[in-house]
Symmetry: C2
Subunit: 598 residues, 2 copies
């Protein structure tokens, strides 16, 4: 049985003391999110995650989903009741604007609570996450009629959403997709084709499932320019409201997967299903990216969430498991052996996970805050700056936090030794579940190409310049603060590496595009380290301010922050030099062999 | 269905052209291993691995082992027939001295062939591997009578062996073990206690199972000094030879594990079982280490083996899967998309795996060669030097090759995208199987401590000095060879990092032992990189010699070696600087937090 305690104190530190929610009170919804309100909401989320969702995590893994001959899919026992608790608590619409039936609170808060839910039960939360993606796409691209027809039930959680992109022969390269949409003469379309890897494509949790489906209208241009997005409900909507007949879409089978067994991954067969165009004809990819960008941050959050829960279990085990003696002499001589947390190599893994999780949480919430600014700020310049940073940080957060999330699940499992390898203790499930986050919503290689090939150069590199300026200004502004030296010095050094890597790309990737491809993953991690180092520096600054205020009993919280941050700066940040060395090596050796030599 | 082609050409290159088997013709068994003989034997191993073992790999994963109420365990369909083919082919005793019923061929060759078998079916090969460990322990520590009684059937493969160390409360810390051995008054012992995580503890593959069991003789000293090793056969031996009655040892249950489902991981209950002392009273740990060291190299080999087979499948997929276009323009314009192998980020992962596998294979065979030298050389000095290097390289090979083996299984899975996450394509199994190799036979953290805390300082650091001398001499000796510069320059730089790290340990670990613990894992990887870089430099030298000889059609093999090696030197070796930076940061920040802060 795994354990989990939602890190509410840490989240509050970030929202109130580091990101300064109060400074953003002019953003719609933020004035409602006072420190007291945040505390209450996050406590509520913590209870739901810990008491309702967590106990079902292993149930979901063991039981999985069942596909029946009639095409229906049964989810694990208890999943429906738990998701009902989630929707009854109003969590689905927490950050949805009030005029669409939500509570209009900050998206940042939605992400903060979402971490707890995903830590407790990632497979369960995916059902809700996909619905939220559908809500976002409908708000951004739906007609008034479509919004009225679909949003209330989706925001309420009575209906669920899905994203239908992948086909057997096309995943990343959506230009190849073949699903057809034929105008039905009544303003709608008849959709036919097969989609695979559809998370939550069919299940028994909701009254209706609203599939958002990429398809090609007859006669549309080839490639990605001829793709449109369609709304295809499982049950058609009856004229006077309510549910009508079953649509011609069915789940053909579900996949046997490495993990997230509690979530049904479906082959979906569309056989002349009735669909309605969502957004513009041939504008499907753009519309899908509304969901995708949101989904990518959701996946980044899964990486952090699993890293956190796996870490917590490893930490408890390390405090309890007695084995060997400390190299510096027995620490608990009355016991037959010391707890393994005394061993420096165990500490190394625990500190690595802890330092990353606290930094990763800051990065994720800072990124989410950019989304709030991009969507809610009154000032156009502020919206633009938020959107720039959001676009830049999204692939970084997705790629970095999911790579690390998986690595840390593996590290946490390692702390358990052989006891981590057997399924009984739940550590294997964290590894198996976390693995998918590196793959879906665009593999991490694709995130890296999105960053290097697209986001870096967008608007003449405006976003990247602003990011480097902000980090550089922070270093400069704190140069006189001696207590900040361990942070600003390491951060500045890594920022220099990032600048050098960016310059290298500018000089070498135009003439030889493979130099961009060969550098991409290393560049993403280099960027991610600088972003995490910047987060740690800001957390350190906030902690030092509080310590200087003499916070009394709460002091150890801030002192531990400083110690954890110092570990991060010493152990994680030197990796930027390695990443720069790899980037500068270029594509030559990488591309030298003929394909048949592999 | 996964693919596998045993890399025979690569193995032959290493044995004949890099390690120079012919130069070691004075070692017993080596003169029988001429290039022609090696070719025939490795081809035979390849066929057995590819045609017999590989097809059962997924069967084993899906079917797993079954534990029955009577304590018996059924292995997956086909496993017995395949293992019979292995034993009938004489593979079990390939490197066992002829006077114990084996063929007396080099252990290095045994390891070379063993890689193919483990690539094809790791779970199946574990049954044989454990038997080989038991054979080694019996040869080293058994009485003449014990050797006569057990070795023929074990070397023939009719009987199997196991290692019984772990108990529920003690894994790494064997000093805590509680299994009791009570003298039975007839020269034997009555063994009682519970052992867990016993690989191949019970199965239906052999006539008898010879358990080697660590237990504490009544009245023995506490801790590791009071542990003895016992032979406890499943079926007692009848007076006149043949099998007698069932012994009081039974499999209580088997574990549900993340991977290696085809291998039965058993809880073994000893309830007054008849056992015989193997080796000296209270000398059990030393005797067990005979098996353990051999087993550690076997586990290192599993890391390499899975890395290789996973890589091969990823490479084939990358050549066939069409998705997107090369950044430098379409490479196969007639097809709807280019194969993904054209993308630099995919190349990066393929080259990383390929370069590591070829270097790792060299390291493993070089280490195995030290075992042959240590056991077979006529000259005592040569035996000592071989034993020194074997002891030093064993934890490095185990820790490095299994960490990388797992990482590369994950990388290979990533090449498949979503198709890697579903179980159908077999990539998930590689990840799940590879995971255990980082844990068993001593977690990789323990390997690192063995290296830093024990092997480095042994005999005044003699082994380490010899290793650094050898690598330094190679760099020096090839300084004038301009073609070797990309290799020797990078190798020398990393060797300097290793020397600096070793010096740092000497200066800082005595006064503060946690500095050794905090550095251990980074030190192991730093060492491993230097060892791999040295292997690549030697391979490059051998390739250049052959190219200079103008080998004609075979030339591309050597040119690809040079290109792959160059990639390794450029992309992998810069990591040594990062490892040194982490080591030099010391234990302060790592140990700063109180245990309750986690």
């Amino acid at each position: 049985m795994t354990l989990y305690r939602a890190p509410v104190r840490d989240t509050l530190f970030l929202l109130n003391e580091v990101l300064g929610f109060e400074r953003h009170a002019d953003l719609p919804g933020f004035s409602d999110a006072s420190p007291d309100v945040l505390d209450v909401i996050l406590d509520e989320a913590a209870r739901l995650a810990e008491n309702v969702m967590l106990p079902l995590n292993r149930v979901g893994d063991l039981e999985g989903c069942q596909h029946h001959d009639d095409g229906s899919v049964t989810t694990p026992k208890g999943f429906k009741a738990a998701l009902d608790r989630y929707r009854e608590g109003g969590w689905m619409g927490l950050a949805v604007p009030a005029d669409h039936g939500g509570q209009g609170l900050p998206y940042t808060l939605h992400q903060a609570a979402g971490e707890y839910f995903s830590s407790a039960n990632m497979a369960l939360m995916m059902y809700a996450g996909l619905t939220q993606g559908a809500i976002a796409a409908l708000i951004a691209h739906g007609s008034e009629q479509q919004k009225v027809a679909y949003l209330p039930a989706l925001v309420d959680g009575r209906w669920a959403g899905t994203m239908n992109l992948t086909e057997p022969h096309c995943g990343t390269d959506l230009g190849l997709l073949r699903t057809r949409a034929v105008p039905d003469g009544k303003g709608g379309y008849s959709i036919s084709g097969q989609k695979i890897f559809i998370s939550a494509g069919e299940h028994d949790l909701c009254e209706n499932i609203v599939h958002l489906v990429l398809a090609r209208i007859e006669g549309a241009p080839q490639g990605t320019k001829g793709i449109s997005l369609f709304i295809v409900p499982k049950f058609k909507l009856a004229k006077g409201g309510g549910l009508g007949k079953r649509n011609a879409v069915a789940c053909g089978s579900i996949e046997r997967k490495m993990g997230i067994h509690g979530n049904a991954t479906c082959v979906m067969n569309y056989d002349g299903a009735e669909g309605a165009l969502l957004g513009e004809e041939n504008g499907g990819l753009k519309a899908m990216f509304t969901m995708m960008n949101e989904a990518r941050l959701g996946v980044a959050l899964q990486g952090l969430a699993i890293s956190e829960v796996a870490f917590q279990n490893a930490a408890v085990y390390a405090r309890e498991r007695l084995q060997g003696r400390s190299l510096s002499g027995p620490k608990e001589p009355d016991k037959p052996a010391d707890p393994i947390i005394v061993h420096a190599d165990i500490r190394r893994t625990l500190m690595t996970m802890k330092a990353f999780n606290e930094g990763g949480r800051a990065l994720l919430l800072w990124t989410a805050l950019q989304s709030d600014i991009a969507h809610r700020a009154g000032d156009a310049k502020a919206r633009e700056a938020g959107d720039d940073l959001l676009g830049l940080l999204t692939p970084v957060a997705k790629g970095m936090l999911t790579d690390k999330g998986f690595n840390h699940a593996v590290m946490a499992q390692q702390v358990f030794g052989g006891h981590g390898y057997i399924e009984e203790n739940g550590m294997s499930q964290f590894v198996r579940d976390a693995r998918i986050a590196m793959i879906y919503e665009g593999t991490n290689g694709i995130q890296a190409l999105d960053l290097v090939g697209r986001k870096l150069a967008l608007n003449g590199g405006r976003a990247m310049r602003a990011f480097m300026q902000e980090v550089g200004d922070f270093c400069e502004g704190n140069r006189a603060d001696e207590k900040m030296t361990p942070f600003t010095k390491a951060l500045k050094k890594s920022l220099n590496d990032l600048q050098a890597a960016t310059l290298w790309l500018m000089q070498n990737a135009m003439s030889e595009p493979d130099n961009a491809g060969s550098a991409a993953t290393d560049y993403l991690h280099l960027f991610g380290l600088v972003a995490l180092g910047y987060m740690w520096s800001r957390m350190a600054k906030a902690a030092q301010v509080r310590i200087a205020e003499d916070v009394g009993e709460g002091r150890s919280f801030y002192e531990n922050k400083l110690a954890t941050g110092r570990f991060f700066m010493e152990h994680a940040m030197p990796e930027t030099a390695l990443r720069l060395a790899r980037i500068s090596a270029g594509a030559d050796a990488m591309m030298a062999l003929p394909a048949e030599a592999f």
